[in-house]
Structure formats: C-alpha cells, structure tokens
Subunit: 366 residues, 2 copies
C-alpha cells in the first residue's frame, strides 16, 4: 500500500542518527515500542519505516521515513498529525519535505483556480499581477474604502485587506466588504480596468463560512485567509466550498519548525490555496533568497497533479524592486506592496501608478 515519504532534518551526532530514525518511525506511526506490535497488519502496513539517512552536515542528518497513507484517513488534520504530531515536540527535529504518492495527492483537488484562473479573472496576461493592501487596521470602513478606490485608480489588479482586519468593531466584516467592493467597482468602471477585492477572513469555522457567504453576496472576487491561524483543516474546508480564488497568508505559519518551501509552497498548495503570500528576501523579514525561490518553485512546479499556485512575494517591498523581482521570479507572480505605497500619503494614486507601470512594462532580461 502507498506511503508518504517524509524527510526530517535531525540535529544529532552521526552515531545517534540510526536510533533517532527508528524512534521517529515509531513515534509517527504506532507510538509504541516494536515489541508491543504483535499484529501482522500493523507491523507490515501501519508501522513507519526508515528508508534513508543522509548526513547533511556535522551533527545534522536528513532522515527519511515512509508512513502508510492509510494512517492519514485522507484528511488534512490527521495527515499533519502523522507528519509532525508528536515529533513536533522534539526540538531537534525539523520537518523539511514530504513526497506525496500520486494516489494520495489525487484525493485532494489542490488549487481550483491557480495562476491561470486568477489571470483570467483579473484580465492580466504576460506580466506580473499587482496587489496592494488596505491598512492600518483601526481605520473606519469609509477610510478603507477610500484607500481601495485610490489603489484601483492606480491600476492594481488585486486589493487585499490587511490580514489584521478581522471583524473588529471599528470595521466590521460585512460593512467593510460592502463598502470596499463598492469603491472598487466604481473606481474600476472609471479606469475601465478590472480589479479584484480580497477581504480578510479570520475567525472560528462557523464564522468563516458566514464571512465567505457575505463576501460572495457582495461580489468580492477573491478571499484572503491564513491557514495556520484559522486551522489547516478549516482552511481546506473553506476553500472547497468557496467559489472564488483564495490567497493564503503566512500569519502564525512562521513558527512551525516546518521548512517554509514545504509549508508555504507544497502544503498550502495541497490545501487548495490559489496564491500564497510569503515574506520576500531583503524586506522586513529574514527569509533568504534561496528559501523564497524554493517556495516559488514548489508553488509552480508542474510535475504534480495540481494547478500551479501563484507566488506572492511581500513584506516590505517597494516599487524600486519590481524589476529585480521579475528577473528573479519571472512574471508568473503577484507583487504585493503594502505600507510602502501608503507612505506616499496624498500621492497614493501616483505612487500606485508607478508600481503598476513597472509591473506592466517589458520585463528585464532573465
């Protein structure tokens, strides 16, 4: 029967690596000593197996464990349980990769829109998409709607809520979505260019479904949701019932001891995210360029059953970096500039135009 091959990066001297690998194989499957496993089916078809140990560096080893697909029950939360439930409690263990067997992957639909779907909705081909954010939180609904209008006048494809916008008293979800979507539609009809609004959904599962209904009724063309915040399984449940593309936000997903290319790239795509925001190198977060390129690679790789997910580098970007990012990532990305545009104050529309102009111009040579 099929198995997920999981790679754990383990901090341990070479002499301990084999023992640790065996322990992990048990911990992440039967959770008892082998002597307790007396049932043949459990031993042969359920118990984890060490399939490789490779030295990465002094005191650092990649341990590969094959976990039976049947233990996942083909469900998100239980799959994460098998991958990193108890072993997350071991500080010396990092989850760095998972090879999903085709037959397992096929039970999850992946992104429903993906890059092509989002491009079609936005009417944007052959260039990076552009995105800007409504913030700071605390502003009343009308002020957020006015920002939304100006950003659309500046020509961005997508206006997203800041992920800190939830359902607070100062800008309740329903009122905010109605006002921002109206402002967006109006500005869009002025410019004659399409624009998409992605409200931020944060809350318990029952509320998420309600927010998604409100967003749909108001005509919002995308949604923004942080899987680690709302729960990975709740995110997956929401995506499967939503009728618009969903942008995944990395909030709370940074402190997981799961390698970012795996979590934000491969696993968020598995959950069905159509686009993924991640902290770009050289901004206000510390991800390296190598990590960011690996996230984009996982998001867009074509050797799997799922539609490509749109990489959205963000986190302290400025207009001046657009050409550089296009040369690094190519044009199948969405560039998200937040605070740096807002610093333009009364020149917001002009600054946004500079941004979208840079993204629409002929690409730099790669």
């Amino acid at each position: 029967m099929s198995r997920l091959v999981v790679t754990y990066r383990v901090r341990a001297p070479s002499r301990d690596a084999a023992d640790i690998a065996e322990t992990l194989a048990l911990e992440q499957s039967v959770e008892v000593a082998t002597s307790v496993v007396r049932d043949e089916f459990v031993r042969d078809e359920v118990m984890g197996r060490v399939v490789g140990i490779a030295r990465v560096d002094e005191g650092l080893h990649d341990v590969r464990i094959a976990l039976a697909s049947i233990t996942t029950g083909d469900e998100v939360a239980q799959t994460l349980n098998m991958l990193f439930g108890n072993s997350s409690l071991h500080e010396h263990v990092e989850l760095v990769d998972v090879e999903l067997p085709a037959e397992f992957a096929a039970r999850f639909p992946g992104p429903r829109f993906g890059i092509d779907g989002i491009r079609e909705l936005a009417g944007a081909r052959g260039r990076p998409l552009t995105c800007a954010a409504l913030k700071p939180q605390g502003l009343p609904v009308e002020r957020l709607a006015a920002l939304c209008r100006d950003l659309v006048r500046g020509g961005v494809d997508v206006v997203k809520d800041d992920h800190g916008l939830a359902d607070q008293g100062y800008s309740p979800f329903a009122a905010r979505v109605a006002a921002c979507q109206r402002a967006l539609a109006q500005a869009s009809s002025e410019t004659g260019r399409r624009a998409l609004y992605a409200p931020s959904l944060v809350g318990p599962p029952a509320k998420l479904a309600e927010y998604a209904r409100v967003a749909r009724d108001e005509g919002a063309a995308m949604l923004l949701v942080a899987p680690a915040l709302v729960g990975y399984a709740a995110f997956h449940e929401l995506v499967r019932s939503a009728c618009v593309p969903v942008i995944a936000h990395p909030a709370l997903a940074g402190a997981t001891r799961i390698a970012p290319p795996l979590l934000l790239g491969k696993l968020f795509r598995w959950l069905g995210a159509d686009a993924v925001i991640y902290p770009n190198y050289g901004g206000r977060f510390a991800y390296t360029r190598e990590t960011c390129e690996a996230i984009a690679l996982e998001a867009r790789r074509t050797d799997c059953a799922w539609k490509p997910m749109l990489p959205v580098p963000a986190g302290g970007l400025a207009v001046e970096r657009v050409a550089e990012l296009r040369s690094v990532y190519g044009d199948d990305i969405m560039l998200l500039i937040g605070g740096s545009l807002l610093m333009a104050g009364d020149d917001l529309v002009a600054r946004t135009r500079a941004f979208t102009h840079a993204a629409h111009s002929a690409p730099a040579a790669r």
Copy 2:
C-alpha cells in the same frame, strides 16, 4: 481601553533591542510605519506600545508590548493573529507570555469542568487520576475494545484513544467509539468502579461536530482533541458545544516557538481545555522539569477567572515513576501511562493494577 501585555523573547544585541521592540509593536498592530498612521484613534487606541525591555542574558531580551484588546475582536484566531501572526515569521522572536486583562479573559469561559468536574465524573478524590491509552493504531475495533476492557479491569479512571486514532478504515470512529464505550461500561460494572472513555477526534470542523455527536450518543464521558491539529478556533468552538470534559493533546503544538507553559498551560486553558497532556521530563521527550512544572502551574493557577485545568504528564512514563511525580506535582494531576503498560502483554491487567495501586496509595511526602 484595555490592552494585552505580550512578552516576546528576542535574540538580539542590546543596542538593537529598542528598535526591534518598536518594530514588533508596529508589526503586531498597524503593520505600517508610524508616519503612515495619521488617524488619532488608530495612533492612540490601536497601535501597539512598547511597555518594557529587559535583558535576560547576553544577546537575549524580553520585550513587552501592549496590544489593544479591541484588535482581537474577542475571537481566538484573531487573538493569535495579534499575538504572533507576522512576528512568527521572525526566527529571532519567541512568544513567551501574555497577560490577559480581566475584562478580556472574562469573555472566554475557560474550562467548563476543570479538575473538580473531572474528579466528580470519575468519582476520584484526594489522589491523582490515572489514564491509559488505546494503541497502536492499525488494530481492529475489537482489539482496541479488548484493550479498553483490560485497562478498566486494571482500575484506570480514564481510557483515551491514542491521538493517532482518527477515522481510518481499520478502526472507523463510530464503530470504535461504540465498541470501546461498551467494553468500558461492561468492565466498569464488573469492577464496580467508574471509568471514563475519551475518544480521539481529528478532522475538519464539520466532521468534529459530527464525531462529538456520535461520542455523546454512545455515552463517551470525555473527548480528546489536539488544538494545534484541528485549529485553535475550531477547538474552542468544539469545546463550547461539547457536553463533556475535553482533554487537549499537544500534537503539532511543539513546533510553535511559543513557550510551552504559555501555549499548553495558559492558552489551552483559555481555549477551554479541561485537561492538558504534555510531554513529561525524563520521558521520551526533551521538556525540562522546570518547563513541566511551569505548565502545571499555569494550568492550575487560581489567580484567574477560569476553573483549574488538569495537568496530564505523559510521554514515556512508567509505573516506577508514580511516587516521584506525585511528590513533584502533588495529587491534582492525571498520570498517563501508555506504551509502558502495553509492553506487559498478557499481564496487562496486573500491570495496570500496579499503576492504579501506586496512584491510590498514600502520597509520598512533598
């Protein structure tokens, strides 16, 4: 207006600590530079404020930030967003404590049963409660039920599913709960002692509610759920609608860069867990005795509005350590012994009796 005072432990030289503190205060509130915050309400009532910086060690500082309660919308996922959404993406930042203002805490009911409620259900006073686990996963329902019967014959108060038991084909949830609850009731009527069964619920939000209904209909007296696996907000939603005590499991909660006493002790209690399983020191996990005692302290502290949560040290315990753990924690705990009992094989009932006898005997002097 009230504020949550959040302590972040930051790896940085002293000369950078003040800047990092200011950056965190912005990142975890308005997420823009101060120059962008031109609205008076946002500046005074929404923007985070640095309220303290203390050197902990060379290159290590505790930074205290006051975050406005109104930004949380009084909701679990959004509260976590405010506490550690984007700052989780900074590897040099650990979330170590949160002081919740009384007025904020009062909006969350906390444990509904707590230690006293569980004791009453189990008919167990003046001694530690005892708990054992059904595993390994992969066994058919009848075999798990037989284990359940033997553990109850051995006198344990609580039999819990292994947290790896979800809704897999080899022991589907509904069939398992029915069989185990029946075995437990029968064995309990033989011994004349009460016993409680806690099935493991893992899955997407819609399924969790369904599992909880099945468990209730079968008469299961407790539930076992891992908040980090199913999602913190989904856990909270489940707890509020469940009619029995809920044991929180730490699966996937180990790799959060949130101090274990805060996450497993304070925040799981905030979510409403009635009991919390954590990896005890000296077992197969690496938590220190200091960390474990701090978890138990948070779980049981009486200077807050919520009922005390039952600490459940676990993870590689053996009967021989019962006296030691009672002397360390006192008797307001539940001792969980899993694999070590099962290693007894055909002597499972006798070995379980030795465990419960040790827990029922006069306590060691503290």
